[in-house]
């Protein structure tokens, strides 16, 4: 009899724990940001963020960029993709991360972007130069691609067409059309396929552009993929992709290809949607990422 009671008790205890785990109630919202989420070293977003965020270090040196600091520390979490930043931030209000401004809109039910140095993370602010966290979106390709593959040339030109710019301007900032890119006319290309490979940050933009383009030009197929800017070069070189997507300035061997900047993207600093935090300064970000100093939410 005792055994039965014991067994039932155990089962009950375990199911309560399980149910507790399942519901995963998020509890109270934290009043302090204690943990920084970085992207993997080498990711375009991280390179840009680390380069842009500067502060005064512990030795009193001013204007030190994050990229010169050692960020692999116990107070930081490092994740591979934009999605993981969103997953983590949305589940825990004491975390802070950064993602492409273009990826914020789709996730406003989970996360929110905070002001940086008192400026809202909006396309207008980025364009006006008020919002300081921004980086270029680049496509790299072999020069001959534009001549050998009419679809590639046409798609590139489409970005600067009226429709293309309208899509782009929703979340990003347009830039001047680079030399060598033609003018887009709907319906000139009837078939073909191209592939774009590289940064995850560019993918939401490319998705919108490609879908609109394919709708206007039936018979064409545009695919895209990849998990980071670093993959772009290899994909273009081995021919598996016509365009490489890079969400930072091209560097190293990448510059040996043709580089076309297609947009400027803001980097949004994001926290849990219910977090009371509204504004962070570069110094606060610098201290959080480099030293683990918590940010108080007022």
């Amino acid at each position: 009899m005792n055994k039965k009671i014991l067994a039932i008790g155990l089962a009950a205890a375990m199911s309560v724990t399980a149910v507790g785990l399942m519901t995963g109630c998020n509890g109270a919202i934290a009043d302090k940001i204690t943990t920084a989420i970085s992207r993997t070293p080498g990711s375009g977003t991280r390179s840009a963020f680390d380069e842009l965020v500067t502060g005064t270090d512990k030795d009193g040196n001013e204007g030190v960029a994050l990229e010169d600091m050692d960020l692999e520390q116990t107070w930081g979490i490092s994740v591979g993709t934009t999605g993981q930043v969103v997953t983590q931030v949305s589940g825990n209000s004491s975390l802070l991360g950064y993602i492409s401004l273009g990826s914020v809109a789709a996730n406003t039910d989970k996360i929110k972007a905070v002001q940086v140095n008192g400026k809202d993370a909006t396309v207008d602010n980025v364009k006006a130069g008020n919002y300081e966290l921004s980086r270029p979106f680049n496509l790299i390709y072999k020069a001959e691609t534009l001549t050998s593959n009419p679809l590639a040339a046409d798609f590139l030109a489409y970005i600067w067409s009226a429709d293309g710019l309208e899509i782009l301007k929703k979340e990003y900032i347009d830039v001047e059309k680079p030399a060598g890119v033609g003018t887009y006319t709907a319906g000139t290309v009837k078939s073909g396929d191209i592939n774009l490979h590289g940064s995850t940050s560019l993918q939401p933009l490319i998705e919108e552009l490609a879908k609109a383009y394919m709708a206007e030009n039936p018979g064409t197929t545009i695919t895209w993929g990849g998990s980071g800017s670093g993959e772009a070069l290899a994909a273009v070189n081995d021919g598996s992709a016509e365009f490489g997507m890079i969400s930072r300035a091209a560097k190293g061997d990448e510059t040996s290809l043709t580089v076309a900047q297609i947009a400027i993207d803001g980097i949004a600093v994001v926290v849990h949607k219910d977090s009371p935090l509204t504004n962070v300064t570069f110094q606060q970000l610098f201290d959080l990422f480099a030293y683990g100093t918590p940010i108080e939410c007022k």
């Binding site: 993981q84 589940g91 993602i99």
Partner: protein, 609 residues
């Protein structure tokens, strides 16, 4: 040419073919080692071998590479996970073998017909089989699902509140997720070891006046010791090589594992996170390959050490001198510890069932509401996300992989079982290599596929399929061999007696009788391919979900995402969580159905015998 001569030529050439198939696993292991070693030579040369192993800094901007922190992290979580998972797994196995009741023994005295029927139906359920299926299901769930279960339920729902920093990631989370993942391996192998202990030992102990618990823990358990140690070692191998799930809960920053909530970055995570960002041909790439190489060596050592587990009790050296003494011996009733252990077994089994229930509930609650016809099979015209391209790619990978792997695997099994002298050195070597190949972590397969097959085919379904051939080869060889071994000798003799040649006997008599075993091998392989992610991301590619289209997936020279990779993309892009859970649900159903198929195949075989 006489008929006899041509038969002989046929037989000999067939034999040579089979030998080649059998040796393939040797080539594969050496190929993997060599390719990855060659790719990592620049890193070892530039950084210095010892600097690489014992350096604590990894900064690719300044080309500084040291993996000590990651190595320590890997070792620490592995050890913790094996202690946790090992204890739970072994006790669960003990419970399953000795205490799991066969059936419910419900009684219902009332007159309600429906309740009567329900009770009768419940009493018919074979609990052991169900438990067995639960373990198999746990083993078949893709690791990406474990990872998200780890983040959302374990970390964000539980551990966060225990962490003074309100974070929850790190050592503890990693080792709990790993423990859950290795429990099925350890449980099923321990179960086999326990069942292999002769029943006479158990009976003998009972007849001495032992309680059941005493007999189990004092006689049967020690007798199964070597099998259990092997199970634990294989569990260690799996834990060391696990990538996707660990990546999601480890935290990802390279720290020494100095506390339970310290974020860490095990070797596999480092490779997987940075492979996407690497510039080809750079020292960075080479350093990642070198990390893979260290991982591979680690796993090889672990897998090979199974061979050094002593198989049976041999007696201690020296003789014992009795000292005598002790006149009034009083026998007492003893056995508290075994009783406690028995309850441990029940608790552990409970934990396993609850973990599974939690994972399944987690997937179903989040997944089912998002399932729709157009989500599953919507073609290119469909506006939202659709799994159709992923189904297509998965199908391709399965078909191409099986087309290549089945003949090779069956050939190897035929050689091992029909041609080779049992117990010869050559056979032992081949077996060792097959075991080694099955122990190689999937991320290492991924690196190898990236180095070899992607160079040949480009990032494509073909590259993925060739990589998967190596992954599933050991499974196919093993299950086919088992099936061949079960074919009675008399059948072969009867065929020889009628004057049939060996090759004819094999193809006309032996293989058809072994068909259910081969079918099992196929189903198991399909399960493995479907749940695989790390080995496919670098080879078959990871498409952005929105860009995946049926028209692109229809061409197998294109890159494509299988279902599991597709689900990972959903999560990774962070744009469509609902669809990710729905995909997880689809995967769960597929795993479940595959397990059922295996179960029915084996049941039908048992019935026939």
């Amino acid at each position: 040419m006489t008929k006899a001569f041509s038969t002989k030529v046929k037989d000999t050439s067939a034999k040579i073919l089979f030998i080649i198939c059998a040796c393939l696993s040797i080539f594969a292991v050496f190929g993997i080692i060599c390719y990855i070693l060659v790719a990592s030579v620049p890193a070892f040369r530039e950084v210095g071998f010892f600097q690489f192993l014992f350096g604590t800094k990894w900064q690719f901007n300044s080309d500084t590479y040291g993996i000590l922190t990651m190595l320590c992290a890997t070792l620490a979580v592995t050890i913790l996970a094996v202690i946790l998972g090992g204890v739970i797994g072994v006790f669960t196995a003990i419970f399953m073998v000795f205490w799991c009741p066969d059936r419910f023994h419900l009684r219902y005295e009332g007159s309600n017909k429906f309740v009567q029927k329900m009770v009768a139906w419940l009493n018919k359920i074979n609990l052991r089989t169900i438990f067995d299926q639960i373990i198999k299901l746990l083993a078949g769930i893709p690791s990406v699902i474990y990872g998200y279960f780890g983040i959302i339920v374990l970390v964000q729902g539980g551990l966060v509140y225990m962490d003074p920093n309100y974070r929850g990631y790190g050592v503890l989370a990693t080792c709990i997720v790993l423990a859950i993942m290795i429990i099925p391996t350890i449980t099923s192998l321990t179960k086999n070891a326990l069942e292999a202990v002769p029943a006479q030992y158990f009976e003998g102990a009972l007849a001495m006046g032992n309680t059941k618990a005493q007999a189990v823990f004092r006689v049967v358990f020690p007798a199964a010791r070597s099998g259990i140690i092997s199970a634990l070692i294989l569990g260690i191998g799996r834990a060391v090589g696990e990538t996707m799930a660990v990546q999601m809960v480890a935290g990802g920053t390279a720290n020494f594992p100095t506390g339970l909530f310290i974020p860490i970055c095990p070797l596999t995570v480092k490779i997987n996170m940075e492979m996407g960002e690497v510039v080809p041909g750079s020292l960075h790439e080479s350093a990642l390959m070198a990390t893979g190489f260290v991982l591979l060596v680690l796993v090889l050592i672990i897998t090979l050490s199974v061979n050094f587990v002593p198989k049976e009790f041999k007696g201690k050296k020296g003789t014992r001198v009795l000292q005598g003494g002790g006149e009034n011996v009083v026998y007492r009733k003893k056995g508290l510890i075994p009783e406690i252990l028995k309850y441990c077994g029940m608790v552990c089994a409970g934990i396993v069932v609850i973990s599974l229930a939690a994972i399944i509930l987690f997937i179903c609650i989040n997944g089912i509401p998002n399932i729709s016809w157009s989500f599953l099979f919507g073609g290119d015209g469909y506006e939202g996300h659709s799994l159709a391209p992923a189904f297509l790619t998965t199908f391709y990978v399965i078909i191409f992989t099986l087309i290549i792997a089945l003949p090779l695997g069956i050939g190897a099994a035929i050689f091992l079982n029909e041609y080779a002298k049992p117990g010869s050195k050559f056979v032992k070597v081949i077996r060792t290599f097959i075991d080694t190949l099955s122990g190689v972590p999937s991320i290492v397969f991924g690196l190898f596929g990236y180095l070899l097959f992607v160079q040949i085919f480009g990032r494509s379904v073909f590259a993925g399929a060739f990589t998967m051939v190596l992954v599933i080869l050991p499974t196919i060889i093993r299950s086919t061999e088992e099936a061949l071994r079960a074919v009675p000798m008399e059948l072969r003799e009867a065929s020889y007696g009628l004057g049939a040649s060996k090759i004819r006997t094999i193809f006309k008599v032996v293989l058809p009788s072994a068909f259910p075993g081969i079918a099992t091998a196929i189903v198991l392989s399909v399960g493995r391919i479907i749940s695989e992610s790390a080995a496919l991301i670098y080879t078959a590619g990871m498409m952005a979900v929105a860009s995946s289209s049926v028209s692109s997936a229809i061409d197998p020279t294109n890159a494509g995402s299988t279902l599991t990779v597709f689900m990972y993309s959903f999560f990774a892009e962070g744009l469509a969580y609902e669809e990710a859970y729905a995909t997880a649900f689809v995967l769960l159903i597929i795993t479940f159905v595959l397990n059922l198929i295996v179960y029915f195949i084996q049941k039908s075989v048992k019935k026939k015998r």
